[in-house]
Amino acid sequence: MKVYADNAATTALSSAAKTAMLPYFDSIYGNPSSLHSFGQEAARALSSARDTIAKHLNADAREIIFTSGGSEADNQAIISAAMLGAKKGKKHIISTKIEHHAVLHTLDRLKKQGFEIELLEVYSDGIVHPKDLEKAIRSDTALVTVMYANNEIGTIQPIAELGGICRERNVIFHTDAVQAAGHIPIDVKAENIDLLTISAHKFHGPKGVGALFCRRGITLTNLIDGGAQERGKRAGTENVPGIVGMAAAFEEACTNIEANAARVSAMRDRLIEGLLEIPESILNGHREKRLPGNVNLCFKGIEGESMLLLLDSMGIAASSGSACTSGSLDPSHVLLAIGLPHEIAHGSLRLSLSEYNTEEEMDYILTAVPQVVARLREMSPVWKKMQEAK
């Protein structure tokens, strides 16, 4: 049996998205900036895609900028808010310790340019406390950026509350909603969001395409200069097939959002309950405030990469926050931020589900993972010592 349980890394393209895209690889090839009928046909597709994305975020179509993906949108949102702040002498930025590297590394760059970066605690359940944000905001705070939901441990942040605080204190609020979009409902108006990032390939759209919502009144800084595409804020002939595919995937995901979330979270809960029966296992992240598809556990006494290799040999695709999978010797910054010691963080396993997964696949995972854990513990000197210490 082959089971794809790494949907937080990327998802399969939906057939609706694929069908919607195909003509744009073929007969509809005009440049949307061209005046002629070929170009205008492509321009209409872009415009309709923009409407679709905006509708499901409760935004205005003019507030949507298409980008090459989540990373670019995160970069542009943060750099733009920083530039706006710097003009008024505001160089303090608040974020969290568990952001994606697209955010954290952009903040690192700004730090080198003289910005002061403050990262909020997320505590053991991985949730930001709004009170901490209230305390952290200063008169020179240029931006607050807090991810909507975490890609590793799936925790969903109290975005509406955080957005409300920022609006009240007149600070720009960005949220990286790459993992949330298409999986849980988002309303940029009700949640007082100024800037928001989405990425198509996390909701069964194509890779290499994303969008940035930018509330009217906030001026973006270009990362790419050139032509006047995207209201002059992102140059380059648009990825028309990608954008059309993203819109089709988003439409499908948002239309079915409740039914999908119910079905996927039922599978998630089965996995969490079943896998927590393995001795010395820990659930990472908040039990309820959690993405429908996210399962993340640590199994003490073993290391994550070896777990992934054995699972892969049984046909199961998963992920881990172990150092060995990150290319360094440090385990995931997210697992360390929720207070896990290094040795336990090395033994993490993330299974991320989508509506394409089935109950039979959950049965298979529930038989495979305990076998893999037992096999690795059998050869682990750490596990032996833990047993002896008892």
């Binding site: 006494g301 073993i302 290391e303 994550g304 990469e305 070896s306 290799l309 054995l310 040999s313 172990s322 150092a323 060995c324 290319g327 360094s328 010797l329 440090d330 385990p331 010691p341 290094h342 040795e343 090395h346 059998e378 050869m379 682990s380 000197p381 750490v382 596990w383 032996k384």
Partner: protein, 146 residues
């Protein structure tokens, strides 16, 4: 896959996993913080390593390196075990990815730590310089291990 077929074979079917109850030497190296711990047990008879077993906590290449290292010293004179290098272990595995070279270093160190333990237990004199300590390999520096 980033690993060679040999590495995958030794990971999926590790040789000499286990413990030796009345081992003549036991060597343990690495730390859980960095994500790899190896423990090697040897049985020595007349200067020959007659049996060897290992237990490893770590990634695929750590388990494969332990397995290969035990195969390379089994049935060999102590001197040959002392001459084992991490490069030889990595080569026998048809190479390791650069970020995983420290796993072969750990395997070399674990073998040597087991021999040192055997010398200590038997009161056999040796030159301490022959036994590298964890700091001397340098790979941790490269990988910025805490």
């Amino acid at each position: 896959m980033m690993y060679s077929e040999k590495v995958m074979d030794h990971f999926m079917n590790p040789r000499n996993v286990g413990e030796i109850e009345d081992a003549d030497g036991i060597g343990e190296v690495g730390n859980a913080r960095c994500g790899d711990i190896m423990r090697i047990y040897i049985k020595v008879d007349n200067g020959i390593i007659t049996d060897v077993k290992f237990k490893t906590f770590g990634c695929g290449s750590a388990i494969a390196s332990s397995s290969m290292a035990t195969e390379m010293i089994k049935g060999k004179p102590i001197e040959e075990a002392l001459a084992l290098t991490n490069k030889a272990v990595a080569e026998a595995l048809d190479g390791l990815p650069p970020v995983k070279m420290h796993c072969s270093v750990l395997a070399e160190e674990a073998v040597k730590a087991a021999v040192k333990d055997y010398f200590d237990k038997k009161g056999i004199a040796y030159d301490p310089k022959e036994f590298p300590d964890c700091e001397s390999c340098g790979y941790c520096e490269i990988d910025k291990c805490g």
